[in-house]
Assembly symmetry: C2
Amino acid sequence: MNKIKPRTLSGFIELLPKDQILFNKVLDKVRASYERFGFVPLDTPILEYSEVLLAKAGGETEKQIYRFNKGDTDISMRFDLTVPLAKYVAMHSGELAFPFRRYQIGKVFRGERTQKGRFREFYQADIDIIGDEALSLTADAELVSVINTTFRELGFESFTVRINNRKVLNGLFEGLGIKDKAVEVLRVIDKIEKVGEEAVIEMLQELGVDVFAINTILGVLKFEGTNSEKLEYIKSIKIQSEILTEGIAELEEVLEAVKGFGVPEKNYMVDFSIARGLDYYTGTVYETVLNDYKELGSVCSGGRYENLAEYYTNKKMPGVGISIGLSRLFSKLTEVGVFAPEEATCAKAMVLPMTEDIKYALEVASVLRENKICTEVNYTKKSVKSMLNYANRLSVPYVIFVGEDEIKSQMYTIKDMKTGEQFTLSMDKIIEKLK
Amino acid sequence: MNKIKPRTLSGFIELLPKDQILFNKVLDKVRASYERFGFVPLDTPILEYSEVLLAKAGGETEKQIYRFNKGDTDISMRFDLTVPLAKYVAMHSGELAFPFRRYQIGKVFRGERTQKGRFREFYQADIDIIGDEALSLTADAELVSVINTTFRELGFESFTVRINNRKVLNGLFEGLGIKDKAVEVLRVIDKIEKVGEEAVIEMLQELGVDVFAINTILGVLKFEGTNSEKLEYIKSIKIQSEILTEGIAELEEVLEAVKGFGVPEKNYMVDFSIARGLDYYTGTVYETVLNDYKELGSVCSGGRYENLAEYYTNKKMPGVGISIGLSRLFSKLTEVGVFAPEEATCAKAMVLPMTEDIKYALEVASVLRENKICTEVNYTKKSVKSMLNYANRLSVPYVIFVGEDEIKSQMYTIKDMKTGEQFTLSMDKIIEKLK
C-alpha cells in the first residue's frame, strides 16, 4: 500500500505528551483563577455564519480568515473570542443576568503568514464583563486584580500591568488641536521604543504637529514618577479638554479601586503611552509585561469598549475585557525555560507486577484509584528492566512493585524515581505518601 | 446602522451559562476519570491536510467533511479523533513510549443533515492504547474498567458494557461457509431488535443462508445466561473454525482480566450480537448501555483494531479504544432530567456591599479568593433588592452582606440562598462553611 506522509499544517500546534501535560496545567491555572472571581464559562462554536462573524471586520482581518462554503452556507472560523461573545450576548440578552461576566478559553484561527512564534491555530483565554446600558469602573479595576491573581498562580511575581485611559490621549490631542491627526500621531508614538525620540519628533513634524504640541506630548510620555505624580503632572499641563479631564478622573477612580482589590502597588502603573489599537477601545486600556521577559511584549492586554454588540442590536452594552494569548505565552516561556516540562504521564504511580498473575497488581491499582491517585499498571509482562525503562521514559514519580513477598506481607515496595530511594510500606502509608 | 441578525449555525451548540457550567462538570469528571488511569492528554489541530485526514475515508465520510482551500492548501476539519491520533503516532513514534496511552477530549465536525440530537460540531472523549507491534489483551479489559469508573463518576450505577469479539462472529460465519456474505449477514443481524426475528430469518434466506446456518446464528444470538454459560454454549455448537476458537479464547481472557480490574459483574456482559461497524475493528468490541435510558443507544463504544496507522507507516501498531459522544450524551441526559443544571455562576458566594465605600467588601472577597473560594462582588451599587435579585438569577449558593455593623464587628451575615437561612459568622467560620 502506498503510504501518505503524516504531517501537520504549518503554524498548527501539536505537542508531545510532556509539553501537553504542562500546557494543560497552565490552562487549568488560568481557568481556576478566572473562576475564582466568579466568571462563568462560555463555549461558542468554532464555525459561524461569515455574515455574522465579519459584521465589523475590515481588510486585514478578512484576509486572514478561514472562510468557505458548505452547500449554500458561507461559513467562517472564529478569529477571536470577542465577536462570538458579541453575537452571543445580542442573541441571549433576555436570558442573561447583567453584568454578564464570562470567560472563554478556546482555539481561534488566523491564516496569516507563519513566522516564528506566530500560530494559525492558537488558544486565547478571555474575560469580559458586559453591562446593560452602564458598567461600573470597578469592573475595569477588577480585571487588574484578575491579571494579578492569574500571573501569580502561574508562578510570576515580577510583572507590571500598565494602565491608561484612551480619553487621556484623545483629550490631549483635542486640546492640542491635532484631533484630526490622532490616528497617525498614535501610530508614530507607538514606535518610540523602537526608533527613539528624535525620529519620533521628526515624524510628528512631518505630520504637521507644532513644536508646543510635540513637547507637550513627549513631556507626558516621558514623565517618570509614581502613579500620583504622573496624574499630578498631566493635570498641571493645563490643556483645555473635557475629554482629557474625564479620562484623568476615570483613571484615578480605576486606580483607587485597583488598590481596593488588594493588588500590590509594584504590580501596576500608569503608562500614558499605552493605546491598544486605534478604533476599538474607548476608555481604560491595559498591557501586562513580565519584567524578566520584556522581549515577550504584552502577555495580557485589553480594555474598555463603549458598545459590544452594536452590529447586532440597538441595546447598548458597554464592556471591559482582557485576553491572554495562551499558546504564544506557553511557547515563549517554554523556550526560555521558565516552563519546564517534567512528567510525560498523568500517573503519579506505576504498578509493576512481579508475578505471572497480575491480579494483585490490578487490585493495588484499584485501591489507589479509589483514593483518586492517578495510577498506571504496567501489564506488558516484560522484564523488570524493560518495565523500569518505560517508567523512566514517562518520568513517572513513583513505581510500586507487587511480587510474591508483597502479596503475602501486604507491604509494598515503592520507589521514588527521582531520588532512587525505596521504601516498604503498607497500603495506607503509600496512599498517604502519594496524596 | 443596519443590524445583522445574530444567529448560530444549525447543528452547532451554544449553551446558556447554567448548562455550560454543568457540561464542564461532566467533561471534567470524564477527564479526571481518564487521568485516574494514567492516560496522557493529547490535543491535535482541528485542521489537517485533506490528504492526511482522508487517507482512509470513503464516500459517506467525505460527503460530511468540512473541506476547503486556503491559498494552495487543501484543508479539512477533523471528523473524529482517531485519524488525527493515527497521524500523530506515525509522526512521533520515535519520541513516544509504547504502549502509548492517550486520551483526547475535543470538538469534531461533521456536516451531516441535522436532525434532532445530531450535531455538526460536537465533543468526543476518546481513549486509545497503542502498542508497538503487539498489545496485551489486558488493555482491552482495562478500558472496561475505565468505562465503569467514568460512568460511576457521572452518577450512574445501572449500566452494562456489552462485550464481544469480532473473531467470534467472523469465525462462526467462516465455519458455516458464509464468510463471503459476512458483511450482508451482519447488516441483517444488526436489525434484529428493530424488525424482529422472523423478518431477519426471511432476509437471511434471501441472502442464500441455509437453515442450519440461520438456526446456529440465531441460537447464538438468542442464548441467554451468564457469561460463562454463553461461552460454554458457543463452544458446544462445535463449528470448525480456528478464528472462532481464537475469538472465544480472547474473549475469555479479556473477561478474566475485567474481573481482575474489579469491575462489578452486573456492569458487563458478553453479547454476541455486538459487531460495531463492518471493517474497522478486528477483535474485542464494546457498547455501553445505560439500563434506565436504553433509548439513548450505546453511550460509549469502541474496540480493538489491528493496525492504527497503516495508511501512514509500515510500523505495525495495534490498538484498542473507546469513545464517548459527550455532546450527545449531555444533551440527551439533560432532556430526560438526569443532568439538572443549577447554578448559573462559578461563584460559591456573592459579596454585597452595604456601604458607599466598597473597600471592605472587596477585602472580604480577596480573603475568600485567597482561600480558593470562588467569589463575586456585586459592585453595581444598586438597591439591596436589586442585588439580591441578580444573585437569585445566578442561583449563587450564598450571599455575604458587608455593612457598617459587619465592618465594626468583623462578623459577617451570610445567607444560604436555597434555604433562606442567615448566620452571622466570623471570617474563619465563613471560610470553613464555604469550603
